[in-house]
């Protein structure tokens, strides 16, 4: 399983890629496997204010809906419109083409609470298998 070193992670299986004052957010490779085939993504609105650890988007499989939490607080600056016609991008490329939204973070200190790749890998390792 892939855990890119340049990303930060949440214990709820989102990743965040920081670039300057903005960051892209998606779900991890482990999470997409747990969700199984993504068939629908409910994206946030541009300009929407999101709070750390609160729901910012919804990813749905055939059978269930999964809340996606904002890793940090901020304002939505972009959303991945490609997911509306091709939600399977989350399964195919969770860390690249399958990104979900971009935000401008309001409190950089919140980033400190996020996990490194090694820490997140340990979380996944300790999660019971089905």
């Amino acid at each position: 399983m892939d855990f890119p070193e340049n990303l930060r992670y949440t214990k709820t299986h989102e990743w965040i890629a920081v670039q300057g004052a903005k960051a892209k957010v998606g779900v991890t490779q482990y999470a997409q496997g747990e969700i199984s085939d993504v068939v629908f993504v409910d994206l946030p609105k541009q300009g929407q204010i999101v709070q750390q650890a609160k729901m910012a988007a919804v990813v749905e499989s055939v059978k269930a809906a999964f809340d996606i939490y904002a890793p940090v607080s901020g304002k939505i600056t972009d959303v991945n419109k490609a997911l509306e016609s091709n939600p399977g991008l989350i399964n195919q490329s969770p860390y690249t083409d399958g990104w979900i939204f971009e935000l401008e973070f309001s409190n950089p200190a919140e980033l400190n609470a996020l996990m490194t790749a090694a820490q997140y890998q340990e979380v996944v390792r300790q999660t019971p298998k089905h």
Binding site: V39, K63, D67, P128
Partner: protein, 365 residues
Amino acid sequence: MDMTLETEPTKLPLHNEHLQKGARMGDFGGWLVPLFYTSIMEEHAAVRNKAGVFDISHMGEFLIEGRGALDYLEKNLPRRIAPLQFGQAIYMPLVNDLGGMVDDIIVYRMNEQKFLIIVNASNIEKDFEWFNARVTQGVTLTDRSGAMGLLALQGPLSQTILLECFGAFYKDLRRFHYKDFEGGIIARTGYTGEDGYEIMVPKDKLKPVWDVLFRVGAKHGLLPIGFGARDTLRLEAAMPLYGHELTDEITPLEADLEWAIDLSKDKFPGSTILKKQKATGILKKRVGFEMTERGIPRQGFEIQKDGKTIGTVTSGSFIPTTGKNIGMAYVPTAVAKTGNTIHVMVRGKPVKAVLVSLPFYKRKG
């Protein structure tokens, strides 16, 4: 993303076979069942285009026999039993005294005074109590649920595969009929909207049947099918599910199951209330809808019309083969017309849908 863990559910007799085929297991009403093996998308398509095998051994089986068996069923079931031939099966709801549905069942006539009834797993205890409380002299009721296993072979290629596995003896088996098989039966029934069979055998015969099906079926594209696709397939075929479309409070008339009861019958539990409801008309009705805006309907979502709540989604899903988001619901009879627009409340937002005629899917030929 939240991932909650389940409590300890009961394993199926073929648990290890499911794991060997790579199943993702999950809880279904207290049973640990395969949710999918590769993906719901692929499995749904396999049953529509080729064939699939489902392990539905969680379901319940009762035997009703003895010199009073026919009279007993005739008195307690909402359809006529006497006209059934030996080897014939019939679907119906089990109706309570208030006209609500205890369950939906299939009754198989084995001989003059011997019947097999297949019931939903979640209702085994409730149904047994229901039948047991009505038992009269000369009627023996036995719960065989723990002893029997059940596999369903479904899809357009299921006949080809079945005959290759078990021989031409089953060639002339008609829909809703069965023949004896290995201490159990093979019936031409199913829950997918496709042609297919349900194979009931003693638990120790399950594995050999499972193995031969896949050995022969592999070249026909036969796949194991999980409960995820079982639900999308039955939803697309508009088959009601107990706990969703069918409850102890909903009547067969409201559920659009009038075809599965016989109101010309003199008397059965709930018959007085149902005959009255037939005469005065139903206030709500089971309907099908298709989303015309983006959003997947799920069980429990509210349905609105002109800003007012008028009903609840009973089942809803994305459908793999068509890509449509569809569902079933109960709405007031006055609203229940094909072409009417409704709104499904998806996470607080009204999302537009249109009522369509059921079933969503009907097989050709």
